[in-house]
Amino acid sequence: MIALVYLQGLFLFMQQDNLIPHLFRTEYSKIVAVLYHSFNLKHLETAEDIASETFLKATEVWSIKGPPENPAGWLYTVAKNKTKDYFKHNAVVERQVKEALQLNDVETAHDFDFSDQNIADSQLAMIFAVCNPGNSAEAQICLALQILCGFSVEEIANAFLTKTETIKKRLQRARANLRNGDFQIKILSEAEIKTRLDSVLKTLYLLFNEGYFSRTNNQLIRKDLCSEAVRLTYILTENILTNIPQAHALLALMCFQSSRLDARISDKGEAILMDNQDRNLWNKELIEKGNYYLVNACQGNEISKYHLEAMLAYWHTTPTDKNKWQHILQLYNQLIIIEYSPVTALNRTFAFAKVYGHEKGIKEAEKLNLDEHAYYHSLLGYMHADTNIDKAIHHYEKAVALTGSRIEKQTLSKEIKRLVEKRAAG
């Protein structure tokens, strides 16, 4: 672990040369997963140490000789050799591994491969190991970011807008929990997958949301989080055991949402509402992918919350249709019945107001008992804006006081200013 922290500092220093940080992000987690999966090492840390040493050697050699033609292949070869050394020279070879090696032909066991298939299988197994319901959802996301996505503690802290120390402690606790729970990744059995798939999907969903609705204003971190969530969910859809409609629905949702990442934030860092977004900035390729996975997801009778959210995202990327908001309202109706959340309740009310008018929307909103939520007040401000400027301003001001997001504060304050001017103009 010491080597890992040191390396990540080193890479920060080497940001001017973009190659290693990029490779680190993509290859570190692959190497850890393959080593861990192939050797069933007792400690995750051993796999992590070997991966870190591999990168350390890369920085040494590449800074003198320049990077090789196939950097990833080079890293895999070094990782293989380092693993062989570990078994040869380490006096405390774990008994478990010894037995495993005696059972198999030693050479074959050492000849583990970094084929795309084996990397995907190993990472899939790692996803299931990390998404352990024994840990809190937040801890699972931190672990996933560190082990599966190669994020540094600092990057995780940035994404969560939390102190590095807090993240460190959270990770330590989570790792201890995994060890105590006899953490190991095996070949996944169908039964294990069934019991844990829900929690895997949920963690990936939260990981994506952490990026999409991130508290950080750093657009790069947001994109990284989102694309990592997409990558991991994609692994699920590619494996025959985890290739279920829900996984496709989740991936469709992520594609639709990602298609709008560039259009959501203005140059000044303000949030732009869907209606005002420049549709030319929407990524058409991702929308196409979303459509593709949504069609896949609909093979079968099951409608999960991921299906509903993906369909909602689909309607949002679709140009205006006469019944668009009626469709959206009905989807929110189904979603809120499956799972209550204040945000869904408020989004549903927004759709309700679009279909039945602001006056009925206001009545529906006032039943919700969500006085403490910024969004509740910004929604009421929006619905009052055309008919009762005083009330609208009152609610918008409450929203400004309640929200923790700087971007949102700016957007709301602009709207208050507009209403104040409108009121003055009489």
Partner: protein, 113 residues
């Protein structure tokens, strides 16, 4: 909060025959109403509709097909909600679309075993 069973009753014979469009509009009304309760975090179980035929088994062992000969109204469906009081639960039931077809909603507190 306490839980309440909502029992929806109506007379099948007097239910208007609905066109597919009307049926869709009715479904939307039901969904809007029940989702409105869910949006307040007060839906426990959306429940179900019931098929309009059934048997009644009596103490003398006689089986008759449904209670319809004796009572005009029969149970169409049920939902479970939660509320602080019977008054609040009754208030939540007020938007139920069955009321516009001349049906009624019975609101009963669950007496948990």
């Amino acid at each position: 909060m306490k839980e309440f069973l909502l029992v929806f009753r109506a007379d099948y014979k007097t239910m208007p025959k609905a066109s597919p469009e009307e049926m869709q509009a009715n479904t939307q009304k039901w969904m809007n109403w029940i989702a409105g309760i869910a949006a307040q975090g007060k839906l426990v179980d959306r429940g179900n509709r019931l098929v309009n035929t059934g048997n009644v088994l009596k103490s003398d062992g006689i089986i008759s097909d449904g209670p319809y000969t004796e009572i005009k109204e029969s149970i169409l469906g049920y939902s479970l909600i939660k509320a602080d009081s019977l008054e609040e639960a009754t208030e939540l039931a007020k938007g139920c679309p069955i009321l516009s077809f001349g049906g009624n909603v019975e609101i009963r507190e669950i007496n948990a075993m």
